[in-house]
Assembly symmetry: C2
Amino acid sequence: MLKSSDGDWRAARRANARAAVLDAAWGLVRENGLAALSLRELAKRAGITTPTVYAYFESKNAILDAMFAQAAQSFVEFMSSLPASDDPVADMAAAVRRFSDFCVSDVPRYQLLFQHSVPGFTPSPESYGIALSALALARDLLARNGVHDPRHLDIWTAITTGLVGQQISNDPGGDRWTGLIEDVTRMFLAQYGDATQHKGES
Amino acid sequence: MLKSSDGDWRAARRANARAAVLDAAWGLVRENGLAALSLRELAKRAGITTPTVYAYFESKNAILDAMFAQAAQSFVEFMSSLPASDDPVADMAAAVRRFSDFCVSDVPRYQLLFQHSVPGFTPSPESYGIALSALALARDLLARNGVHDPRHLDIWTAITTGLVGQQISNDPGGDRWTGLIEDVTRMFLAQYGDATQHKGES
DNA sequence: GTCTATAAGTTGATAGAC
DNA sequence: GTCTATCAACTTATAGAC
């Protein structure tokens, strides 16, 4: 018994220490960009030395993978509770706004999660699986609003990632493209939403 | 006279040597990615040594800037002659297809030109000016098809870059998103094109 | 677990001979 | 202009003392 609770303690302490390293890593990439993640700077931030980092992560890629998993988990939680009213445009626009808020509020996280922009890094299947489950949320949302064709889901992801990408690349901190979310949602649903078939009935 | 033509000769030879270095640089980034551009590998490819590279470019950033200018120039030329029929959907879809062809045919060029994804690099104002003149082409094309609101131009750039970005990130070499160009163009023009006002007249 | 010290490899850029 | 040789700084990762 004592031995087992000792093990729990140690596991918890180890998890805390790992989390502290990851927190330092996030702070570093938020300030200096994803490419500036070096183990030296990371260790300095975490108040330890470089070899100690290797006591908790077996490599730099393992750190990136843990960050990817954290980002994916945050994304799923952030997108999981969305309003469901009787107004499709409002619901879908709210989802896009939620998505864009997530992306623009932490650009390095966005780049790690969606742009695969770290040269030698590929997320592990487990981490990637978490990210994939978020696409299912988008599919459900569209289905609830009468969009069933997978091609239309592809169009929807292109539009939303396009808005976010332009916003981040060409107007960081502004709302030049995020301010177009409602218009774009209306355009999309006018072409592919439920109302398309119902127009003749009104 | 002799002195002046001597100068021309030397200038031409120098320009050729610079071009050869840039060609080697493009080959390198196309094979190994933008991040893998190192002066050692570059010199090896060009058949010279590292210090000789500095006889033609004052720094690595100068090389990247020359590459950016080349990319922007290619882009303007690639996009400058576009069909102008009486079918707005066909014309605009052709322009997007041209754009996506340009992007997917040379992904590192696309990343350098549009994603600003090289850590310490910012293009010089001259090089950036070339790139900006290409956006004017898109604006003219939309104006010719009855789209005048600058907000709608922003929507258009978001859609087109979104399609290309998804294509490159999630289906490289395929046509899952580029195959949607015609549909998306129809959707956009149905909402914002000339035909919108003319529908009641037909 | 945490450290000092260091390995073994990059990188961009330069000095100086020819 | 082109080379050899090298600098100074950085990277990830490890050996071994405590």
